[in-house]
């Protein structure tokens, strides 16, 4: 069974007042906050029932969570960021314009900046869905277009200076 709801008021600062209109908690009014808060429980967890989202942020959040593995869901719930393992190192998604890349073959991490086209028109969770899928399915494209910074230095246009063995491996696969 799924839960429906209506939005009663936008309270600002990413907070929305909703009324549950179906399911065992019908009639209850809740303030929900779904943007960039640490330790926030999802509404599904609070209600113990699946929620039928009708707002863009809710729809996008539900899709993103469905794509995360168990460890990533734990991280997303706790920190609103999650790590993605690639054969070249670990990439942390969840902070816009501030993606961390820890390469396997180097001690020093990179800061990366990659976004989907016209990303301002997407709910934030869709941005991470977009980047997660590209990173998993076509990492060569991800590292080729990413702007990058190492240490306190200036930002550089992509591609990211991966170890030559990594680029060779990527090109051989694609």
């Amino acid at each position: 069974m799924s839960v429906g709801y209506v939005v009663l008021d936008d309270l600002g600062h990413g907070r929305t007042l909703i009324r549950i209109i179906s399911g065992s908690r019908a009639g209850a009014e809740l303030v929900v906050v779904r943007r960039a808060l640490r330790g926030l429980r999802r509404l599904e967890e609070i209600l113990g029932e699946e929620v039928e989202w009708t707002d863009p942020d809710g729809v996008a959040e539900q899709l993103l969570v469905s794509l995360l593995n168990q460890q990533q869901r734990y991280e997303w719930d706790a920190l609103r960021t999650f790590w993605v393992d690639t054969e070249f190192g670990k990439v942390r998604l969840g902070r816009l314009y501030d993606i961390t890349f820890r390469p396997t073959r180097s001690e020093e991490p990179f800061r990366l900046c990659v976004v989907p086209d016209d990303h301002h028109s997407l709910p934030v969770a869709d941005i991470w869905t977009n980047l997660l899928l590209v990173l998993r399915g076509d990492p060569e494209r991800f590292f080729r277009v990413a702007n990058w910074q190492r240490g306190p230095g200036k930002w550089h246009a992509g591609p990211v200076p991966l170890d030559e063995r990594d680029w060779l491996s990527l090109r051989c696969r694609h």
Binding site: V59, D117, S121, L122, D126, L133, R136, D138, N147
Partner: protein, 77 residues
């Protein structure tokens, strides 16, 4: 029933088809091609409930896929 979810400002817009319905498949496939060719979208197929580790980059419409996710091209920010 297959579903193609196109990421957009509403979260996503879904296009569905029944594997027995050739017309619905043709319509979905034409939409898929437009998104790939005109908008340079990338497509990922997954089985129901599969996470991103199991999603597969596809370049042709697959009517047997449970779900196809159409994401936008990416660029340095």
């Amino acid at each position: 029933m297959g579903t193609m979810r196109v990421l957009d400002s509403t979260g996503d817009t879904a296009v569905t088809w029944d594997i027995e319905d050739e017309e619905a498949i043709r319509t979905a496939e034409a939409h898929f091609r437009r998104l790939l060719e005109n908008e340079r979208r990338m497509a990922f197929a997954r089985h129901a409930g599969a996470n991103a580790d199991e999603a597969e980059l596809i370049r042709a419409f697959d009517p047997t896929a449970d779900e196809i996710l159409m994401v936008r091209p990416i660029q340095g920010g």
